[in-house]
């Protein structure tokens, strides 16, 4: 079978828990190569927890996360590290190192994990900073830049190793609608220009509707998959009132649910 035919990420019967407290149970969905895939749901439904499990930070209680045909949590540490090294992650807070400048933050993975020389590192960092529209902020510290810029630097850092999959945890959290739309455009550009698979955790409906090609809705009550498919298709076909309400609050207006 061609590698392109295999889903990039395959989630099978995934249950994730903190100690004995189950957060999500029996999740099943696939993420295809080149997709912009959104994990959505109400606040507290466990979206970020699922992502933590997918990026190797939280072992699941049961079930499998299959990346390019390999069950990442059944693999040994070295294999799992190899798998994770193909990921770039942009965290909700940005997670920039406060003692380092913008340039140093973006260059860090290259300095620590590659043998690239200084000029090649500088070239790559400039390329990535340029992609997110930050050409003149090299020497600024995270405390000297805005929330929107922090998110963009985090995206540049996540992209700097040219990962096969980019994860975003609530990329638009704390941003105004204009900045949020700008960030959506950057994510779309990355996907179109590089073909990188993008997995995004969000409950920002304008982002979901504008950029997602596929999605999964995690139901907070059942702690399981409530709906799976393209967000617009889910909105058209779902009979679940909760999901319909969730998807129509910012898209299509409240009237759609009250009619």
């Amino acid at each position: 079978m061609n590698r392109k035919d295999v889903p990039c990420i395959c989630i099978q019967n995934l249950t994730v828990a903190y100690d004995d407290r189950v957060i999500v149970r029996d999740l099943n969905f696939n993420i295809n190569r080149g997709d912009i895939f959104v994990i959505m749901g109400m606040s507290g439904c466990g979206k970020s927890t699922v992502m933590r499990s997918m990026i190797g930070l939280l072992p699941p209680k049961s079930g499998r996360i299959i990346i390019d045909g390999i069950d990442m949590w059944a693999a040994n540490d070295a294999t799992r590290n190899d798998i994770v090294s193909n990921f770039g992650v942009s965290y909700q807070s940005g997670a920039l190192f406060s003692s380092m400048t913008v340039w140093e933050n973006v260059a860090l993975p290259l300095q620590l994990k590659t043998n690239m020389n200084a000029s090649a590192i500088n070239k790559r960092v400039r390329e990535k900073l340029s992609m997110v529209g930050l050409d003149n902020s090299d020497d600024l510290y995270p405390s000297e830049i805005s929330g929107g810029m922090i998110k963009r630097v985090a995206i540049a850092r996540a992209m700097v190793m040219n990962p096969r999959v980019l994860f975003f945890d609530e990329p638009s959290a704390g941003l105004d609608p204009v900045r949020s739309a700008g960030l959506d455009k950057i994510i779309l550009d990355i996907n179109h220009k590089t073909g990188t698979t993008i997995v995004m955790v969000t409950h920002d409906l304008s982002s979901i509707m504008n950029i997602a090609t596929n999605s999964v809705y995690i139901d907070i009550d059942t702690q399981s998959v409530g709906a799976y498919g393209a967000p617009r298709d889910i909105l058209k076909t779902t009979k679940n009132g909760e999901i319909k309400r969730f998807l129509s609050q910012n898209y299509g207006g409240k009237n759609e649910t009250t009619k």
């Binding site: 990921f87 997670a95 994990k113």
Partner: protein, 280 residues
């Protein structure tokens, strides 16, 4: 009372019904804690091994910054406290030795006690409060800010990148700070001797040199070096295990200071027994 229960009851246990159960719980938590500390220390040694093979994710610039923070910037406070302690020891020693007409031995009293143990203990307590707490707060904040998660997903070991430079910095600077503390405390004692006891500087210095042996000096510096390990490990471990809240960072910082100071005292007790046994 409810607040007492909330404070003293271990989080994940049922309240003990009898003495045996509570002893069992305490033993279980102690064993769990010892296992965690041992694992953390082993991870640090693995990181040091990787560094020696040139495979650790350690930047020289970070090590330099940490040496500057833990070493150079700590010198003023170490000097201030050491000078005061030297003065106090000489002053109190003078009062007691005066009864026997043996004031000249104040120099010996200050020199031996400071060089053998007090210099290291004073420096250890200062550094546990200053640098150990800073390590816990810095690393704890990085945990809250998801910076440690970011490192892990970059494939960078937080032990190599965050803990190793701090441990190395403190183990390099602590023996030096201990020697500085010794010198300044002796100067404090000398100041009291010259102003209150009318002892000349030359006489005080001669007595000090006569009484300090290489063994005493070596024991003091060894104490300082081991205290560096204890304080750095306590600070970094508390930071790495901090809960992801502001309150959690506060608790981690408190734990780091307490663990650092208690660790230094326990280490002193162990070394004292060993050196006594070896007749050093």
């Amino acid at each position: 009372m409810k607040w007492r229960e909330q404070i003293f009851r271990p989080k994940s246990t049922v309240s003990p019904k009898n003495f045996r159960e509570s002893v069992g719980n305490i033993a279980f938590y102690a064993a769990q804690h010892i296992a965690q500390v041992t694992r953390f220390v082993l991870q640090i040694f693995v990181a040091i091994w990787n560094m020696l093979r040139g495979r650790a994710s350690l930047r020289r610039i970070d090590l330099k910054i940490e040496i500057d923070k833990a070493g150079l910037r700590a010198i003023p406070i170490v000097c201030l406290i050491s000078f005061m302690i030297g003065m106090i020891m000489a002053f109190v020693g003078n009062m007691q030795l005066k009864m026997f007409g043996a004031q000249i031995y104040v120099a010996a009293l200050v020199a031996i006690s400071v060089v053998r143990i007090m210099g290291a203990i004073m420096t250890g307590i200062i550094m546990a409060g200053r640098t150990g707490a800073a390590y816990a707060a810095e690393i704890g904040s990085m945990r809250v800010n998801q910076e440690i998660d970011a490192l892990q997903t970059m494939g960078v070991s937080p032990i190599e990148f965050l803990v190793l430079p701090r441990v190395l910095a403190l183990t390099i600077t602590m023996p030096i700070l201990t020697i500085i503390s010794d010198i300044v405390a002796i100067a404090g004692g000398m100041f009291v001797a010259m102003t209150i006891m009318n002892v000349s500087m030359a006489e005080y210095w001669r007595m000090t040199i006569d009484w300090i042996s290489f063994n005493n000096f070596g024991v003091g510096v060894l104490h300082g070096w081991l205290f560096g390990w204890v304080i750095a490990i306590a600070g970094c471990m508390c930071g790495m295990r901090a809960e992801r809240t502001a309150d959690g960072i506060g608790r981690a910082t408190t734990r780091a200071v307490v663990a650092g100071i208690v660790g230094c005292v326990v280490m002193t007790a162990i070394l004292t027994i060993i050196f006594n046994w070896l007749d050093i």
